[in-house]
């Protein structure tokens, strides 16, 4: 199992658009090492790498389709109510293209 460097963990945090300080990074590094160890232990389960991954708890049976009709949705006012900066019916954020 390949180890992950602190640099990679920090890069992952930055990709997730947040920062972590040195103390957190140390805890995260230890935590991650523990997870890698647990993953190694999973290899002890016979045949583990030959079974199909299970995404949901059981095979989902979806046997209905909703009618293709217009249903009520949020008004513009409702949709914008929780945004902190709104101008002319649009949410204001810092300029993306400069």
């Amino acid at each position: 199992m390949k180890k992950v460097s602190q640099k990679s963990l920090l890069a992952a945090a930055h990709n997730l658009m947040f920062d972590i300080d040195e103390v957190e990074l140390q805890v995260l590094t230890e935590e991650y090492a523990d997870i890698l160890e647990a993953i190694e232990c999973m290899k002890n389960i016979p045949n583990i790498d030959h079974v199909k991954p299970m995404v949901f708890p059981y095979d989902l049976v979806t046997d209905y389709l909703r009618e293709d009709v217009t249903e009520p949705c949020l008004t513009q006012e409702e949709a914008l109510k929780n945004a902190s900066k709104v101008e002319e019916g649009q949410i204001v954020i810092p300029k993306v293209v400069r």
Binding site: M1, K2, V4, S8, L9, A12, A13, N15, L16, M17, F18, D19, I20, D21, V23, E24, V27, L28, E30, E31, Y32, D34, I35, E37, A38, I39, C41, M42, N44, I45, N47, I48, D49, V51, K52, P53, M54, V55, F56, P57, Y58, L60, V61, T62, D63, Y64, R66, L74, E78, A79, K81, N82, A83, S84, K85, I91, I93, P94, K95, V96
Partner: protein
């Protein structure tokens, strides 16, 4: 008069007999909330509850509707229209959802009275009831205020255990209702995955999340499933299988059941008081004609439950919380650039524990790690679930202590790992019912140093009716029901 420490059926009877009105109940709940010192509440419906209760107090009691006019509490990760909903995260402070969660709607339709939104571990990720933005939530059974009530549904557990409401809604992704129930002498129930709509529940881990709840006895638990269960078009994972009357299905003369005790989990127990209480229960079950099988799921499978749960839930959480950016809702932070703004919102908005969990989830999903971490956890899930399916095909239920200890003491506040590779199997096995989506119920089993501990029973998919009957057998043996800490 203390009505809210009674069970739902007793309170309903008092309403029908006109001993008490919904307004009296609301006033009692508000008074208790004011006096409560366990740090359980995010938002109290003071004006709204009094208004609704006043209206109901001028109407006839619906005699066939046991929830009518009775206050309830709901975890703050359920959307409640125009009522502040934070999931106990700084990032969501001030958020007013524009719609109601389906379970909340169903309770409102029954004219139940929402009295409070309850606190939780941030975004429902955690088991200590201490990681939310309000800090530690205390166990009502521990007057020294040193023990947790457990999480993540800590506030709902307190609300019910302290007799503030007779029932409280929570959510359970790993054991977030069933473990706190063990620590607070409550009945904690989670249904089969798909049985109760999750529309409006903040997603933590879509394949593991369940709407769950606390009550004080088994019959109340069955009653709530009657109200909350059943198909919902708004939840694509909602089952279309028919509902039953789960209260009526609890029979007086019950058939003998076959119970499985999983050897690897039982053998991991160290607390002699809990072991002894569990052994006594098993003996009594045998004496009443029930059959007990000790079964092995093998140590590698038992040891894999917690890491598989942790990896899958973290990976799903990373994805499902990517929308928390403070732009459309939540706490916005001004900055010069878009990136800076997102960094500020998400760094200051999430606690360190949540950020670490997202990183772990994200790393496990990277292309170079996916096979070895995330997909292995999913393969492991299949092995665990197929093993448990076999156990549940030849037994009516799995029975085990719900926790290997009484409620733990809080540690200090230094950052700690949320994943502990040395954690006891018996302390983390309850997540098997989330990995498999099985119905699972925790009931009070006994007390040690005046602190409660529980027993858990898990059955096969969509066998809630049988599970409630089995749980009733156990409740009748222990005699432990309708417990509150006054």
């Amino acid at each position: 008069m203390d009505y809210l420490s009674k069970n739902i059926f007793e309170i309903h009877k008092a309403l029908v007999n006109k001993e008490v009105t919904p307004l009296d109940l609301v006033k009692e709940a508000l008074e208790k909330i004011k006096k409560d010192t366990n740090n359980a509440f995010e938002y109290v419906y003071e004006k709204e509850a009094i208004k609704l209760a006043t209206e109901l107090s001028n109407q006839e009691v619906e005699v066939d509707n046991p929830l009518w006019g009775i206050p309830f509490a709901i975890k703050d990760n359920f959307s409640t229209k125009d009522i502040p909903t934070t999931a106990s995260s700084r990032l969501l402070e001030g958020y007013l959802p524009p719609f109601d969660a389906e379970v909340y709607t169903r309770l409102l339709n029954k004219k139940a009275i929402p009295i409070a939104k309850t606190t939780l571990d941030e975004l429902a990720m955690g088991g200590t009831g201490s990681s939310g933005h309000l800090g530690k939530t205390y166990n009502p059974w521990d007057e020294s205020k040193t023990r947790m009530v457990g999480g993540s549904s800590c506030g709902s557990a307190v609300a019910c255990a302290a007799g503030i409401v007779p029932y409280a809604i929570g959510s359970d992704t790993g054991d977030s209702v069933r473990k706190p129930a063990s620590y607070s002498a409550l009945v904690g129930f989670k249904p089969t995955w798909g049985k109760i709509s999750r529309f409006g529940l903040f997603t933590f881990s879509a394949s593991l999340d369940h709407v769950s709840y606390f009550t004080k006895n088994v019959k109340e638990s069955a009653l709530l499933l009657n109200v909350l269960g059943g198909h919902d078009d708004k939840d694509t994972t909602s089952s279309s299988l028919p509902m039953e009357d789960y209260v009526a299905a609890i029979k007086e003369n019950k058939e003998p059941y076959t119970f499985a005790v999983i050897k690897e989990i039982y053998d991991d127990l160290k607390d002699e008081t809990i072991k002894k209480a569990f052994d006594s229960l098993i003996e009594e079950l045998k004496q009443k004609g029930h059959k007990i099988n000790t079964v092995s799921i093998t140590l590698p499978i038992a040891e894999a439950i917690y890491p598989a749960y942790y990896i899958i839930s973290s990976a799903e959480a990373t994805s499902s919380n990517a929308n928390l950016d403070g732009i459309k809702f939540g706490t916005y932070k001004d900055a010069d650039t878009y990136e800076e703004m997102l960094f500020k919102v998400r760094t200051e908005g999430f606690s360190d524990r949540i950020r670490r969990r997202f990183v772990i989830g994200s790393i496990s999903l990277l292309e170079e790690n996916q096979e070895e971490i995330y997909l292995r956890a999913l393969r492991c899930r299949r092995m665990i679930v197929e093993t448990l399916n076999k156990v549940l095909e030849s037994n009516d239920a799995i029975i085990l202590p719900a926790s290997p200890t009484i409620a733990p003491l809080f540690g200090d506040d230094t950052p700690k790992k949320s994943f502990n590779k040395d954690a006891d199997i018996s302390d983390n096995y309850l997540a098997f019912a989330n990995l498999g989506g099985y119905p699972s119920i925790t009931l009070p089993l006994g007390f040690e140093s005046k602190m409660p501990f529980g027993v858990n029973i898990t059955s096969h998919h969509f066998t809630e009716s049988k599970l409630f009957n089995i749980a009733q057998v156990v409740e009748d043996i222990t005699g432990l029901k309708d417990l509150t800490k006054k």
